[in-house]
């Protein structure tokens, strides 16, 4: 897919970010954690941006990606760090180095470990069927080539390592991650304390998938029980940075 990439013909103004991402979801503004993370960060940092939903896959064959002042950038974390330095934003300056280290580890737990549990659930254990429930605008032929995507994601998860475990083992790993996140968050409003930081955008991106985009998963139930503080954290991030959440869904909710 990366080979068919052609530079799109849209551009935003000077110092305005053009964020390229997948179309809006039914329950969340994106069904992918990384665009949701990056767009939440843009809102948190008050950085002007526009969305482009027509060319979601960028130069590295991944989504999201962004264009800023004519230059293209890929990878949500590299984009975030570039934006932070370009616009002079640092939401973690009040943290000690040890705290920042802890923040990094939880972000990595979400994006490099829990992420694969979500991938396996969405693509392998439910064979991609939940996609139809969480996003509208898939072309009809996708239904027929879905087995190809399923096989591809299975291969990726196996190469990464998590795909070699049984479903039961993978779900248990996911539960352990969520338990750890819930324990660390505790009664704090945000992961690192009273004010949201960059890593909260990453945590929100991933946890939103589990809270709202995994219908029927064993995690869904736990979010209302053992991990209720994680659900509350998601609601808090949504209320604070997405007052227009319902308008950022497809179809928009009235």
């Amino acid at each position: 897919m990366a080979g068919c990439w052609k530079k799109p013909n849209v551009s935003a103004g000077k110092d305005v970010v053009l964020l390229h991402q997948l179309d809006r979801g039914v329950f969340t503004p994106s069904i992918s954690p990384f665009p949701l993370k990056l767009e939440t960060y843009l809102r948190m940092a008050n950085i002007p941006y526009e969305n482009d939903f027509k060319d979601p896959m960028g130069p590295k064959g991944k989504t999201p990606w962004m264009t800023l002042n004519g230059e293209d950038f890929s990878d949500s974390q590299l984009c975030l760090e570039l934006l932070a330095s370009t616009f002079g934003k640092d939401f973690s300056s009040h943290l000690t180095e040890a705290e920042r280290a802890i923040g990094r580890t939880f972000q990595i737990m979400a994006e490099e470990h829990l992420y694969w549990v979500v991938v396996l659930w969405r693509w392998v254990y439910t064979k991609g069927k939940t996609l139809w429930a969480i996003q509208m605008n898939f072309p009809a032929p996708l239904r027929f080539i879905m087995p190809i995507f399923v096989r591809r994601m299975k291969g990726q998860a196996s190469a990464q390592g998590m795909g070699r475990h049984s479903q039961e083992e993978v779900i248990e790993m996911g539960m352990k991650d969520l338990r750890a996140m819930s324990a660390y968050l505790g009664i704090k409003p945000y992961f690192m304390g009273d004010t949201p930081t960059e890593m909260d955008c990453a945590m929100f991106g991933m946890l939103a998938m589990i809270v709202w985009c995994m219908p029927g998963s064993p995690f869904e139930q736990h979010m209302k029980g053992e991990f209720i503080n994680l659900k509350d954290f998601c609601e808090r991030m949504k209320d604070q940075f997405w007052p227009d959440w319902n308008q950022c869904l497809l179809p928009p909710r009235v």
Partner: protein, 254 residues
């Protein structure tokens, strides 16, 4: 070596640790085997080594045979051993501290590990292998291009393969800095006593510190910002591997 023949006649639990042959500079060139063997030593669990069948039921190394039962994946092995032998090195920690420990372990094993792997097999093309191990695995000795190609596709599936070399090395350095900042002047990661995460951390850090000859992190360890990580590895080695030199091939004679 038939596993069933080695069950304890007196009914005691028998642990056989299956791993690659000893390294030249570290007892194992695999971080996960070093982790698991270090754990067995800290926990005081008697075990025997098997170097003839290093690849286990999930196609990975190390693995264990516990009373005849084959178990793959170092973490699943560790958890089973902990349960079987009633060893909980973390019982004194709060649930928050246990959560932080898990997060650091995942950063080491699911993120920094990939940086180490990419450096060893792709940027360095596997050329460090003969320098760090005498009895190379058949595939490494005769089929190195195939191993390199396999690692490349694994790394691409996992995601790190999409980044440039400088981006990858910077990610690794950020992880190392985070571990260093969190460790600070403590003897072990979570305080005065070594726990399970220290085994995992030592497993990975030992590979970067001792088995990555020519790696750009070297000066950071010896004289720079990561010097406390070097001290930490030396401490783990001194405390739990007093026979380190005899666990190398060839053995080191002082």
């Amino acid at each position: 070596m038939a596993a069933a023949a080695l069950e304890g006649k007196d009914g005691s639990n028998v642990v056989i640790l299956h791993q690659l042959k000893r390294g030249k500079l570290t007892p194992c060139i695999s971080p996960f085997a070093l982790k698991l063997e270090t754990y067995l030593r800290i926990a005081g669990i008697a075990y025997q080594n098997d170097f003839d069948e290093p690849m286990g039921p999930k196609g990975k190394t190390p693995w264990i045979t516990l009373n005849g039962k084959k178990v793959g994946d170092s973490q699943l092995c560790l958890e089973l051993l902990s349960e079987t032998f009633h060893k909980d090195l973390s019982h004194h920690l709060s649930i928050e501290d246990k959560a932080v420990a898990r997060a650091f372990q995942i950063m080491a094993e699911d993120h920094l590990y990939w940086v180490m792997l990419v450096w060893r097999w792709i940027y360095n093309g596997g050329s460090s292998l003969p320098l760090i191990q005498t009895d190379l695995h058949f595939a490494v000795r005769y089929l190195r291009p195939i191993v390199v190609s396999r690692v490349k596709s694994q790394v691409s599936a996992q995601g790190m393969g999409h980044h440039s070399q400088s981006e990858v090395m910077e990610m690794g350095l950020k992880d190392l800095r985070a571990i260093s900042n969190f460790l600070g002047t403590k003897s072990f990661l979570m305080g005065d006593q070594p726990i399970e995460v220290d085994c995992a951390m030592f497993g990975i850090l030992a590979q970067i510190l001792w088995n990555s000859l020519g790696c750009p992190y070297e000066p950071h360890f010896t004289a720079g910002e990561l010097i406390n990580l070097k001290g930490y590895c030396e401490r783990m080695k001194r405390t739990f591997w007093p026979d380190w030199n005899q666990c190398l091939i060839p053995p080191l004679v002082r």
